[in-house]
């Protein structure tokens, strides 16, 4: 079995779970079987030169679930796919979260960074989910995390749901109880989470985004500055990531 390949996935379920945020269930047993938490799919969008990278949100039986927000033309066209359509997917790609057996983790997601945390949280023996949204209407997947057995903490910027403020506040309250933290979301959030983990001596893994070409490590466009043995260097989000150890990331690169 190839590590990654071009697969055709059938769109079997589709819904808009919040304004401009779509939830797709894609069927193909072959790729579902080998997909790990935190990996991503590189999806061809008809009429566009580049594929679009979208994280794996969940895997159930022979289906992969993705949740994405309309950002520009590519994601808008993707959102227009109809039930029964076949999507051309290169994947599964990248290195996911390293979830060790018997350990407790906090899974921290901000906005559209929430989806990749779901399948990851399911892998952990015990999981806290700390999710941040702009407001109540933008909140997604809260029920799914509960169902997955996570202890749930929610923060919204306007206080319309959960506590008012950022994810770092609820995270600070529980950080003593976890062995490690996994996070995905906007860079300022990731930086703040990484800093909190550093202060508390907890290992922190972050999932990063960068514009991509090939998606497999050949074209070197998806660069991310990291601290290497011989000084700073550029690693590649598609092949070395998207998940990195937070200490490795040169945040101001």
């Amino acid at each position: 079995m190839k590590k990654y390949d071009v697969h055709m996935l059938e769109l079997v379920e589709k819904s808009e779970i919040a304004k401009n945020i779509f939830d797709f269930k894609l069927k193909n047993a072959q790729i579902a079987k080998i997909t790990e938490p935190g990996q991503f799919l590189h999806i061809a969008v008809p009429g566009m030169v580049l594929r679009r990278p979208i994280s794996v949100c969940d895997v159930t039986d022979d289906c992969i679930r993705i949740v994405f927000r309309i950002k520009g033309d590519g994601t808008r066209r993707l959102s227009e796919a109809k039930k029964g359509d076949m999507l051309d997917v290169l994947g599964p790609l990248g290195n996911g979260f390293d979830i060790e057996k018997g350990k407790t983790y906090a899974f921290v997601g901000g906005g559209i960074g929430v989806p990749p945390m779901l399948y990851s949280a399911k892998r952990a023996e015990k999981a806290y989910a700390v999710l941040g949204f702009a407001n109540k209407d933008a909140a997604i997947l809260c029920g799914d995390f509960k169902e997955a057995g996570c202890e749930l903490f929610i923060a919204t910027e306007d206080g319309s749901f959960g506590v008012r403020g950022f994810v770092t506040e609820p995270l600070e309250n529980i950080i003593d109880r976890v062995d490690g933290v996994c996070a995905c979301g906007p860079i300022p959030m990731l930086k703040a989470v990484a800093e909190l983990c550093r202060k508390n001596g907890k290992p922190c893994q972050v999932s990063l985004e960068e514009r991509m070409g090939c998606g497999i490590g050949a074209c070197l466009v998806c660069a991310c500055k990291t601290h290497g043995e011989n000084g700073d260097e550029y690693k590649h989000v598609c092949k070395n990531g998207p998940v990195f150890n937070a200490e490795e990331v040169a945040w101001n690169g």
Partner: protein, 303 residues
């Protein structure tokens, strides 16, 4: 079954499709999908004398039917290439082309000399990279500097020397002639066209380098025109590239005058493009009654 193999500067390629430099790394990643012997050759990621970090991200932007990149020659350096990447590549049953770039003529010469003692099949001299501050495209934009650098590098290497031409010039045929006159064994074209995209909300260029090199289907007509002009001007082999994304494009580029082809950007959308293009070309040759793909080269009947 037509014969798809082609012979360029004494090197036989399995078929006319070579992976374009910078889009295929050193082959490992696409090698997970299919044997690299599927390709006629691999033009490796551009290498420099010393390792290079490359430019800060974002390094890629999209346009209608094309992309811009500003990778800036991130690479591990010529010695790492020879010691760590080349031995594996040489076992893949495909021609290996080293693509070199330098800050100075001396650097090109030093690299050519080291590669001359290595197992690479050919050397492609990139004097057309738009994404680096020193050297790069500056060597490739006047007949005088192209002639000069070709002459000097030629003196340092016996391997087949391909000079890769920039489209960012006023008369590419004249440049090709200078390269031929000073000893180039072949020319390849086109490298990327300089371009730019700007985010209208922030007024910031998408690329951190502000400008980048454009490739993909949008540049194809420009590439066809340039390959045709160059083929008319020189008698050394011409390797055509720029926006090829289907077997029809491949056939068109051959008809315009290409002896072999390179494909790059299309791989990002369809990693299996080489297989599809070869199959399509083969069927086309059969239908047209050609025995060998080389018979198609330069069959253009211009008005």
């Amino acid at each position: 079954m037509a014969d798809l193999s082609v012979k360029i500067c004494g090197v036989t390629l399995n078929n006319p499709l070579i992976a374009a430099s910078g889009t295929f790394g050193f082959g490992h990643e696409y090698g997970e999908l299919y044997p690299l012997s599927t390709l006629g050759g691999i033009s490796c990621k551009g290498i420099t004398l010393l390792p290079r970090l490359g430019n800060p991200p974002p390094r890629i932007a999209e346009g209608k039917d094309g992309i811009l990149n500003s990778v800036g020659l991130q690479n591990p350096g010529v010695d790492h290439f020879i010691n760590d990447d080349l031995p594996w590549l040489m076992r893949q049953n495909t021609a290996v082309i080293a693509n070199i770039a330098g800050n100075t003529v001396e650097e090109y010469c030093q690299m050519a000399e080291r590669l001359d003692d290595s197992g690479v099949d050919m050397i492609e001299m990139n004097i057309s990279c738009p994404n680096v501050k020193h050297g790069g495209v500056a060597f490739g934009t006047s007949c005088e500097s192209v002639g000069n650098i070709t002459k000097q590098v030629r003196a340092h290497c016996k391997k087949p020397l391909i000079v890769k031409l920039s489209p960012n010039v006023s008369d590419i045929a004249e440049i090709a002639k200078s390269a031929e006159a000073q000893g180039a064994d072949a020319v390849s074209l086109i490298n990327t066209l300089t371009g730019m995209r700007i985010d209208i909300e922030t007024a910031r260029p998408i690329l951190r380098n502000n400008t980048g090199g454009m490739s993909g289907p949008a540049v194809f007509p420009v590439a066809v025109r340039m390959v045709w002009q160059v083929k008319n001007a020189v008698s050394i082999p011409v390797i055509g590239m720029g926006g090829i994304s289907s077997w029809q494009d491949a056939a068109e580029m051959l008809i315009a005058g290409a002896d072999a082809l390179q494909i790059g950007t299309v791989l990002f959308n369809d990693p299996y493009a080489p297989i599809k293009i070869c199959k399509g070309l083969n069927d086309f040759l059969d239908k047209k009654g050609y025995k060998s793909v080389s018979e198609l080269t330069a069959t253009i009947k211009p008005w």
